[in-house]
Amino acid sequence: MRRVAHRDGRAFEELLARYADRIHGFLTHSLRDAVLADDVAQETFVRMYERASSYDPAHAFAVWLFRIARNLAIDQLRRRGAQERGMAAAGRAAAGSAVASPHASLEGKELAEQFAAALGSIPEAFRTAFVLREVEGMSYEEIAAVTETHPKTVSTRLCRAREQLRELLAAYLGPGVRRAEEAL
């Protein structure tokens, strides 16, 4: 980052190559809109460049970058608040219908879609904590730094996220779902 702050294009591209997919994946989960996620990911890296000199090396770079991405995602979600609530309702409906479907015949792609729908239907704070933990493998402390909260709050949000996902995806998570799991 020191090199990026000194306008080193090569260092910037190295970071871009290393984190672009992760940031895009995180934003796709957060925003549930791949095109919007692409735009916000682009803005994330532009901000990364512009704020490079303010980065404190005492903290993990990934945490700093994900915090930028998350704040931009929240701005987007606020901007389209009503729309988002509608989408959440749609997601909940989709997840609900998935629960009613016979899971044994589901292909992996469908299961992934149902999982994404269930994930999209839970509150943003829960979703972010869950994705950062399970997809990004961050510690509670790192998630707390990204979301600017306390590790205990992270623990609570993770519990809530798991409870809600567990409920929405009960048909896939109970006993005898190994076939569906293997389909992934």
């Binding site: 000194h6 306008r7 090569r10 871009l16 532009v46 995806l169 998570l173 109970g174 992934l184």
Partner: protein
């Protein structure tokens, strides 16, 4: 489900994340041994985690993403990615030191004017005995070679007895007329391979100033050279004896290096030929990230060293070794 099950289930998330105190964890393990419902709940949480890992977003990043980001950065930040020239060495000095250097320079200037009526940097022509303002001619090859010898001395300065450090470096500066060459280098309007020469010239001047300053810690020079990516040469021990260091040339009849060594050397050669990559970190990053060799060995903690020596302005890789095992500790044996 019992009351104990309810209490346990509230803790299963932190349990699978390894966040519980050992005593609580042990209690949950005891409970799970006897409760099929709760153990099934743990399995469900693990499946949920597996779903999250496996369910990648359907839309992948578009291939032109990096180009678009770069364009967006440039659009909003004209001049982005054009590496600014680092501060000249005297700008990095603390204020008091700059003031002292300025005062000394002014005093020298006045003294020179007083004595000769000409500017500093002039020299007396033997025929007429008059002072002329002829600047020394910058000789890139000689300067680079001499500066590399000085850098080699600086690199092992910690192995030289303290009283010998000052005369050792002073001899190198005098022997090759390095300070005047450095000033001539910086005075050139168009510098060949400018950054490398400017870095070397600024460093030489810094050595000159450090030697002139009473009580300066000369080992700071070594750190400075390392920080600036100028010194990472490990000269042969013999160099400490006569204070001279000649790069070891790779004999033509030397057997071809092993493929992995050849690959590392090839990367190192490309590194030294690329004016954008100046620091040892760049080389090491290339070696660790660009090379399938190191990618494959990454889990074992690869450790390597590549020796790169500079010869007459161009840089040539002369030897390389790769070692595996132990902690990865890049940073040995390269110079540019």
């Amino acid at each position: 489900m019992t009351g104990e099950c309810e209490r346990v289930r509230r803790l299963l998330g932190p349990f699978v994340d390894g966040r519980l105190q050992p005593a609580v964890r042990s209690a949950i393990v005891l409970h799970l041994r006897e409760c099929l419902e709760c153990i099934e709940e743990v399995r469900a949480l693990k499946r949920l985690a597996a779903f999250a890992t496996a369910a990648e977003p359907a839309e992948r990043l578009r291939p032109d993403f990096a180009a678009r980001v770069r364009a967006a950065v440039l659009r909003r930040n004209p001049g982005a990615f054009s590496t600014p020239r680092p501060l000249l060495w005297w700008r990095r000095l603390p204020f008091w030191a700059r003031s002292a250097v300025g005062a000394a320079a002014a005093a020298l200037l006045l003294l020179g004017v007083f004595r000769a009526g000409y500017s500093v940097g002039s020299e007396r022509t033997p025929a007429t005995g008059r002072w002329t303002a002829r600047a020394p001619e910058f000789e890139p090859e000689r300067f680079t070679r001499a500066a590399q010898v000085l850098l080699a001395d600086v690199a092992y300065l910690d192995r030289v007895a303290e009283p010998l450090r000052q005369p050792l470096l002073a001899a190198k500066l005098d022997r090759f007329d390095l300070p005047r060459q450095a000033h001539a280098c910086l005075a050139r309007p168009a510098l060949p391979a400018s950054r490398a020469f400017v870095d070397l010239a600024e460093f030489v001047i810094q050595v000159d100033v450090a030697l002139a300053a009473a009580g300066a810690d000369l080992l700071d020079l070594r750190q400075l050279a390392l920080d600036r990516g100028l010194v990472a040469v490990e000269p042969p021990a013999a160099a400490a004896v006569d204070g001279d260091f000649e790069p070891e040339l790779l004999p033509a009849q030397r057997p071809a290096p092993r493929p992995e060594v050849a690959e590392a050397l090839d990367l190192a050669e490309r590194w030294v030929d690329d004016p954008r990559q100046r620091s040892l970190d760049d080389l090491m990053r290339s070696l660790f990230e660009d090379s399938s060799l190191f990618g494959a060995a990454g889990t074992q903690g690869p450790r390597m060293s590549v020796k790169v020596f500079a010869i007459s302005g161009s840089v040539r890789v002369t030897s390389g070794t790769l070692r595996y095992g132990g902690d990865a500790a890049p940073g040995s044996g390269a110079s540019k």
